[in-house]
Structures are given as structure tokens and as C-alpha cells.
Amino acid sequence: MTEATKHVEGQQHPIGIYIKIWGWLFVLSACSYMVDYLHVQGYLRWTLILTFMVLKAGLIVAVFMHMLWERLALLYAIILPPVLVLVFVAIMYYESIYTFVTRQLFFSVLTGA
């Protein structure tokens, strides 16, 4: 990116931000363990664990890989559409299983028809 600001303020990152991020990572990890510890089960369990994981990954990508900041905009632009499509994929996955199961349940199979 040529937003010609490389030599202007706003590019140095005070050490404080790293500490804050460490703190957040710690909290998020604690949350994941809590899910385990409290025996949350079923869909909720996986939803929560995945959410925390994604949040952590996001933080790490956003801050610690700051070498990427130059190209991060590009990265977001490239990553976002596939993520949106992935939501679609996930929903369609459950949907196809649902359709399949209802068909098994209610419709008789005609052998030799």
C-alpha cells in the first residue's frame, strides 16, 4: 500500500499494546478451558470453542504478525469473501444432512423400481 505514511506517526507500536494482547490471549484461553471444565456439551460446546479459537487467531494475526501490516488490507480483502462462503458451506452441510435424514425417516425405498 502506498498510503504514504510509512514515515509518519502511527506506525510504531508501543509495548503496552503487546501486553494488552497477551492479557486478552490469556483470557481467551481461560475461556476455552472453562468450556471444557464446565462440561458444556453438544453444539454449544463446539460453537464456543471455535469462537474463542477464531478470536485468538485473529488477535495474533492482527498484532503479532505486524510484519504483515503492509499487506494486511490485501489479506483481509482476500480472506473475507471465502470466510463468508465458508459460512454458506457450513450451513449447507447441515442442511444436506437434515434433508437426507428426513428422507430416510419418512420415505420408503423402492427396491427395483
Partner: protein, 589 residues
Amino acid sequence: MAEVGAEIERIGPAEVEDVELYHAKSWITKYVFSQDAKVIAIQYSATAIAIGMVALVLSWLMRLQLGFPESFDFIEAQDYYQFITMHGMIMVVYLLTALFLGGFGNYLIPLMVGARDMVFPYVNMLSYWIYLLAVLVLVASFFVPGGPTGAGWTLYPPQAILTGTPGAGAGIVLMLVSLALFIIGFTMGGLNYVTTVLQARTRGMTLMRMPLTVWGIFTATVLALLAFPALFVGAVMMTLDSVLGTSFFMPTIVSQGELLKHDGGSPILFQHLFWFFGHPEVYIVALPAFGIVSDLISVHARRHIFGYRMMVWAIVIIGALSFVVWAHHMYVSGMNPYFGFFFATTTLIIAVPTAIKVYNWTLTLWRANINFTLPMLFALAFIVTFVNGGITGLFLGNVVVDVPLSDTMFVVAHFHMVMGVAPILVIFGAIYHWYPLMTGRMLNEAMGQFHFWVTFLGAYMIFLPIHYLGFLGVPRRYFEMGTTSFIPESAHTLNEFITVVALIVGVAQLVFFYNVVWSMIKGKKAGHNPWKATTLEWQTEEVPPGHGNFGRELPVVYRWAYDYGVPGAEDDFVPQNHPPKRAPARAAE
């Protein structure tokens, strides 16, 4: 701001290579096969409005049938279903999408970001001609045996391609082909809008200095580039189901006593694909309206837009979220019912950034210095109707509430208020606002006032009562109610009233068209920058802007788009290209 002594030297060198500007060689390449974005914009707008008129006339015919069910012999059930289908599809895709992106996008993007033209002018021209072809194919479907499709604008299979539906043969295939063409044409245009905004801005025009109009159109275009493929996939697979007899969406079916050859397909898959496109699509027509209305309010209230950054974020967040709410159109479609939890939550979350936009529009009026010009009136009317339609969206988004309301007239009222009235009001406001730029003359004020009041109050009177029919349980897409015990006689009277108002509002549009033509010849001369706006499109050398937009040199931008009422400045506005500590802005002539 004005006191900041940012010297001219600071301005970086021009990184935008001056593009090889396209030069028309003959009358034909200047006005017909033109590669100038401004001409393409006018071509797009004229085509979109022309086909939109067809949709408007169809809405009268529908209203006549609904208001006076027994009186019109020439409207049969099959005609009615064809009318609603073509009315809905034309209005949403061929009118609003084309007008906002192809029309306003082409005209305003290069001018507002300080570019000479779109970055790929040749592709831009192709985009228009393919769009025109799509419109012609659509029109052709009116004239084939069986007529246009009557499957509803959602085109759900299996119905859309089975014989119980009007236009199930040639009609639906032409519709799908036309949509595919539209998408191809749009992709070409969209590529231009996005790349131009990213790469062809003039010096000093950072992203956050862009007017919200550009943000709205830009984000909407990105959405469209990502959403239209879903419709394309659905259209292609349904065409094959219809023409080759494949079974992508077609399960085993006994249609009117006859076992069909299809086997195993899933109709719900089509619905997912359609709405994965369809929901972003409604924001594709809403976001440009959001952007434009922000600028209208700011200019005519003589105040900066309140919370500019929030406005930009809201646009971007709404855009991203709009991809994860699609199944709120399918709460009662028979999909996996547990999806309801997820989609109800995401749907209602969208209300928050939207609400912020509404607040910021109204807060812009706070402590402003409001001129009640026509664009301002339309902007205020937009807020009223949009909020009204938006909150009824919250009813529908809250999954249980949607159960009784889905597929009733309540839904019809919701989307007309939020899509059929609000953005249309913005279009009118935008035309009153930019007409002086495009023609050099003002539109007539008296005719405009008449047009405004009839359209605003009329449209509100049409669609507010329809919500109550929905509560009552009146279904949408019904040719006639017949005798139904829970519907009182008074509901029919209400329907007659709505029809009469719709016809009046429709006729009032003639005043608008007359005004557009009359003012072109007789209107008051506008001069430079009649509204005293800060944005670049008003700072061109000639009005209307000539070939290449900005005289010999591109403007250089020194400030954001909203410097109205700057303390200490000489005028109550400072154009974006006015360097600090220099002569004050040129006042309007």
C-alpha cells in the same frame, strides 16, 4: 482546519499516471458506443427508468385487480402472477440496481474521487450494452408463447418450471438467460467501479476523505460482485433442469397426476442460493441510497455529516453482515429449523449499525442551518419511510414473529416501505440535487413541491395500511381473496382506497417527467455549484462537466468532504480542493 498551514510542497507527486483518455472519433462513438462514463451513466439511467416504467404500469394493473377483484376481465389469474413477477424483478434488479450502480455509480464515482474516467472504459461500455441486451431479452419474454414467467420474483423451483405456472416454458428460460446476462454485464461495470475507487483517486483523496456517496456505491458494488455469482449458479442450474431435464433442484414429483423424470434434487438448495444472493441484493440497493442521502442531508443542512467514521464503518459492517443473514427469508421454508436461532440473531444484529446511521442523519440536523430545498425534503421523507420499513424488518427478523407474518401482506408492506419507497425517494432527491450539474439548469420548484408531497404522503398512505392487512392474515400473491371468513368487508374497502391512492401517486410522476423535460429548456440557469457543495463534482471547470471531467489539471484535495460551517472560515463551506490559507471559496453565481 483552515488554520493548518499545510504547504503545497507537501502534496506528493502524482502517482496516478494520467490515463490515456479515450477520445470519441465520431458522433456514434461519442453518444452511442461511448466509453465516457458520464454518457454511459445516462444510457444506463434512461434504460433503467424506461423499463422501470413498465414495472410501474404493472403495479397499477395489480392494484386494479386487488382493489376491484371482479371488475377487470382482461386480468386473469395467470396474468396477475406474471404481473407481480415482472414487477418485482424489474423494480429490484433492472431498475434499482442498474440505476444506482450503473447510473449514479458511473456518473458520480469518477467526478467525486477526482478521476478523469473509469479505469477500464472499454469494459465499461460493454457493460452497458450487455445490460441493454439483458433488458431486451427480458422484454422479449412478454412476447413468447405462454408469456413471461409467473413464478414470483423469487423464481422458486419446482414451480417455476412446471406447467401449473404461467410462462413455465419459454418465459422462465428467457428470464434466467436475461439474469445471467445482467450479471455478466454488471460484473464488467462493477470491476470498474471498485478499481476506480481504489486506484484512480486524485492526489490527497484518501479513503476517509471520500464522500459517503462513494462509500455507499463502492461497498454495494463489492457486495454485488460477491452476491451475484450465487444467483448465477442458481440460474444456470435451473436452466439445465428446465431445458435438459437434469435434477439439481427437482425431486421426484407427481405433477397433475403424472410422474416426472426428475429425481432426488432439493428445492431448498435453490432457496439458499437465491437468498445468499437476495439478501445482499436488498442492501445493494440500500447502501447507495444511504450514501447519497448522507450527502444530501449534509449539503442542504449546511453541516458536516455527524459521526463520519461511524457512518463508514456502519456501511462496511452492514455489507459484511448482509452475507450471514440470508436464511431469514426461509424461516418457514422447511429448512433445518435450528438455523432459526443463528439467523434471527445475525439479522437483529444488523439493526444496530443501521440504527446508528439513522441517528447520525438526524443528529446532523441538530444545530444545523437547514435549507428546505427539494433534495432535503426527499431526504427527510427517506428517513421516515426507511425507519418505518426497517422496524417492520425487525418484526420479520425475530423468527417467531415471522411465523404468522411470513408471506402475508405485512412482508409486502415491509419491503415496499424500505425498498420501494425509501430508496426511490433518494433517487428523486438525488435527481433534484444533481440535475443542475448534468444539465446546467435547475428543476422547477413548484412542480417539484407538488411531486414531493404527493409522492411522499401518497406512498406512505399506500403502504402503511397494507401492514394491517398483513396482521389480519391477508396473504401475498393472491389473485383474489374470494370468501374467507376471517377477512371483514372493510378490508376490501381499504384495498379500494389503496388502489385509488396508488393511481394518484402514479399519475403524479408525470409531473416529474414533465418537469425534467421542461426544465431542460426553460429551467433557471444553475451556474457553478448552486448548492454551495464541497465535493469535487461541483468544482469542475465546465458545467456540465466536459470530456475528461476536470479541465487540464486534476484537482488536488486538501480536506474531507464535509467542511461546512468551519469556524473562522470565510464562507460556510470550503470545497475539498481549496488549499488552506488561500483565497476563499468561489461563491455561487
